[in-house]
């Protein structure tokens, strides 16, 4: 029996359970669901690892008539990271939502819908299906942002919604153009048919702009910090770790699978340029924040910029450098997902413990809530790209690609970006070591639930462990030949 549909059916079913039976202990039930989901994901991962990529025709209708789902190395990697982070966030939420009764009732249905939509996007092989997936992601994510329904989150959520819808329109417009020009929505068929011409360029431009808005790439980033900074901690973690990656993933897929040959190199350099702007702008803004969640949110803006560097490194360069760039980019997706979710979760604990969102309120907590601060630090190591960590490996691969292809300007960006990251991470640490604040009696803290501290530490530990186990996902990513030959065989 094929596992692919279950990755969608399980979360949808659990969404219905949490929606219809709110009196049941839906938190623990959700944890059970996450176990089932993780098991299914693990089995699919193994199957792809052993037998190569799988294609699944829904409703038994072949593309272009029907919709095809694709599970290749990249897909299963993302499915796995999604299941993993979602599980830890769910566990964290069990403790966190105790102090948010109202939100808890609607958190779980939205959580499951979000998970279903993310899985749907990772698996999708069809451009319009991706659009539907993006819509579902958007609505679930916006819903989670405005769960606490106060003035700030409502404003942030609405702005997020508008920008996401704008992005959707751009995406849809491009997809419509591609469909009208080539008569198919299936990505693989499109890849064979697509040619460089005016229609293709306009369509890809429109799609790219739409997705850049949704990914919050500079200069379309402004909706992200208030939305991610204002949401509940587990929500922020899911949003920063996974949701923004979904639109980037589509962008990457389109370029990697469909448009690699039809796009001018100048576009790729342009993408890199806005990525560099994002890195520096996000970094400087993060440095200026005095609320810790906003700092972390701006850090996401900056980190997303690194993803954009993949395009100039991968487009128009030698195959081996292109491969390095893709591996680095995808590793960065994973590493950032782990590190940023760990960071948001630990920050959530810290905020809960000191009862304030201000960075100054964290004065002298280094010995009061050491585990959460340690988790923050480990996550920071990965974000700074210091070894050993997933973030470092990603940076290393990108550096190799940039040096190898002689694109020294990106080398400079990569190096300076890490230093900027270090400055804002250590801004938090500097405060936390402030002994005078302790002596003057500030920094009285509540005890944090152990489950919350442990969740953050676990994810942060994984972000570091990815520094040692990066070969696993990278090998899965670099199996395109196996994938295509198997696909031919299955036809």
């Amino acid at each position: 029996m094929n596992l692919i549909p279950f990755l969608l059916v399980i979360p949808l079913a659990w969404a219905l359970i949490s929606l219809l039976l709110p009196r049941l202990p839906i938190g623990p039930i959700a944890l059970l669901g996450m176990l089932v989901q993780s098991l299914a994901t693990a089995l699919l991962w193994r199957s792809v690892q052993l037998h190569g990529a799988e294609r699944y025709a829904i409703g038994d209708w072949m593309a272009p008539l029907g919709i095809t789902l694709v599970a290749d190395g990249l897909t299963v990697t993302l499915l796995a990271i999604t299941a993993l982070i979602a599980m830890v966030c769910a566990f964290y939420a069990l403790f966190y939502l105790r102090s948010h009764r109202h939100e808890a009732r609607y958190f779980w249905p939205l959580f499951w819908f979000l998970l279903a939509s993310l899985n749907g996007i990772w698996l999708a092989g069809d451009l319009f299906n991706l659009y539907v997936g993006l819509e579902l992601v958007t609505f679930a994510a916006v819903g989670m942002v405005i769960l606490s329904a106060n003035r700030q989150t409502l404003a942030a959520g609405l702005r997020y919604l508008y920008m996401a819808l704008l992005g959707s329109i751009g995406y849809l417009l491009g997809v419509a153009l591609l469909y009208s020009a080539y008569g198919t929505l299936d990505m693989r068929q499109l890849a064979e048919l697509i040619e460089p011409n005016w229609t293709t360029h306009v369509a890809m431009l429109s799609i790219s702009l739409g997705l850049l808005v949704k990914t919050a790439i500079f200069p379309f980033h402004f909706w992200l910090p208030p939305a991610h900074g204002g949401a509940l901690a587990p929500v922020s973690a899911l949003l920063s770790a996974l949701v923004v990656k979904s639109s980037f993933y589509i962008l990457a897929r389109l370029w990697l699978d469909v448009g690699a040959d039809v796009l001018p190199v100048i576009t790729a350099q342009g993408f890199g340029l806005i990525g560099a702007c994002a890195i520096f702008y996000g970094g400087f803004k993060a440095l200026q924040q005095d609320e810790i969640k906003m700092l972390v949110a701006y850090s996401t803006v900056a980190q997303l910029g690194y993803l954009m560097l993949v395009f100039p490194l991968a487009a128009g360069t030698a195959p081996e450098h292109s491969m390095l760039a893709w591996q680095g980019g995808m590793l960065h997706v994973l590493a950032h997902a782990l590190a940023k979710s760990a960071m948001f979760l630990s920050v959530g604990t810290l905020v809960l413990a000191v009862g304030s969102k201000k960075i100054d309120a964290l004065a002298g907590i280094s010995t009061r809530i050491p585990l959460s601060l340690f988790a923050f630090g480990l996550a920071g190591v990965s974000l700074m790209g210091l070894p050993p960590s997933g973030g470092f490996n990603a940076k290393w691969l990108m550096l190799q690609s940039a040096i190898g292809s002689g694109q020294w300007h990106w080398v400079v960006v990569l190096s300076l970006g890490s230093l900027l990251t270090a400055t804002y991470i250590f801004k938090v640490f500097r405060v936390s070591f402030d002994q005078q604040a302790i002596d003057s009696g500030k920094g009285l803290v509540k005890r944090a639930p152990w489950g919350m501290e442990l969740s953050a530490l676990f994810l942060a530990g994984l972000a570091i462990a990815l520094g040692f186990a990066a070969a696993l996902p990278v090998e899965l990513l670099s199996l395109p030949e196996v994938e295509s030959s198997l696909m031919e065989a299955s036809q």
Binding site: L19, G59, D60, V132, Y179, Y182, E195, W198, V202
Partner: protein, 324 residues
């Protein structure tokens, strides 16, 4: 003649859009938007997309207009509390660039799109032909319904999920304690009107659902009409929004549950996800559609009714308007 009509329609549509965009009076913008919806339905007609025209007519006339009027009433009620606050003053006077920039970008987008369509290559694959070819196996006769409920039913499944998520969010936003609508006395005129209008609405809704299997129509359009009927009842003062919460939730999710259950249970026979057995495909699709109609109607209605009613209908709006 065809061209003349279309050009006129296009101009009217643009005028309407400009009216919505440049109106500083919110209510005027809302009415403009209602008109815009109608013209858009006509455009769909001219583009040979009667399904979309039907949906646009049902949603535009029955729901979005009401929703917006409601929103304007909310805003004016809120502003009435603040002394001297102007109803249409949502902020400072718009900057010049904020008026020019949209026009400028619209022109650029227009030019790009024009080029994209002008130099569009001929599609090497014709999907409509493929749909027509496979129509006999789909269980329905109308190609749109075949695409929505069979060939690409997965998309539809997720779209229903989107609707469900939207309504969950609306529920989450509703305060735990909401007061019953003030001034909810049953207006005799509205009461009488509803007795005459609601039954035909329901009949038309079911008809549109039924028609979907062989001509334009289907679950979404039917559901929208159903929702409109419910909205009408609510406006007329029937307290139908006070359904028991759990009952409402089941109703909202029913269509999705049925859809998902059918989609999954066919896999027991070894078929892929969402593969209807050909012998009962038509019946299954109609069953799913019927449940979807019901749920979509409830969902769309809930999106409207979850919002708390305006605090107190104001007459200040009227006075302020009359001064112009």
């Amino acid at each position: 003649m065809n061209l003349a009509f279309d050009v006129l329609l296009g101009i009217a549509l643009l005028l309407c859009a400009a009216g919505v965009f440049y109106s500083r009076d919110l209510f005027r913008a809302v009415v403009m938007f209602i008109a815009f919806g109608l013209l858009l339905a006509l455009v769909w007609v001219r583009l040979d997309a009667p399904d979309l025209a039907l949906a646009e007519a049902a949603i535009g006339a029955g729901l979005t207009g009401v929703l917006m009027i409601d929103a304007v009433a909310h805003l004016s009620a809120k502003n009435a509390h603040h002394q001297g606050a102007q109803f249409d003053q949502t902020g400072a006077r718009p900057q010049l660039w904020s008026r020019i920039l949209p026009v400028f970008s619209a022109v650029i987008i227009f030019i790009l799109l024009l080029g994209a369509i002008w130099w569009r290559p001929d599609a090497p694959v014709s999907l409509p032909d493929l749909v027509a070819e496979s129509l006999p196996e789909s269980g329905v006769e109308h190609p749109i319904t075949a695409v929505l409920l069979n060939f690409r039913s997965y998309d539809t499944l997720l779209e229903i999920a989107v609707l469900l998520v939207a309504v969950v969010v609306a529920m989450a936003l509703k305060p735990d304690t909401s007061e019953p609508e003030a001034g909810n006395s049953k207006d005799p005129i509205l009461h009488g009107l509803s007795a005459r209008l609601v039954p035909p609405m329901l009949v038309v809704g079911v008809y549109i659902l039924w028609a979907g299997s062989y001509m334009p129509g289907g679950a979404f359009q039917g559901g929208a009409i159903l929702a409109a009927a419910l909205v009408f009842l609510k406006l007329a003062g029937f307290g139908i929004e006070r359904l028991a919460d759990s009952l409402l939730r089941i109703g909202l999710a029913l269509g999705f549950i049925v859809f998902l259950t059918v989609a999954t249970s066919v896999m027991i026979g070894g078929r892929p996800f969402l593969t209807y057995p050909e012998s009962v495909a038509g019946e299954l699709i109609f069953f799913i559609e019927a449940m979807l109609t019901f749920s979509i109607g409830l969902i769309l209605f809930s999106l409207f009714s979850q919002a708390p009613p305006p605090v107190a209908p104001t007459s200040s709006l009227q006075g302020e308007q009359d001064e112009r």
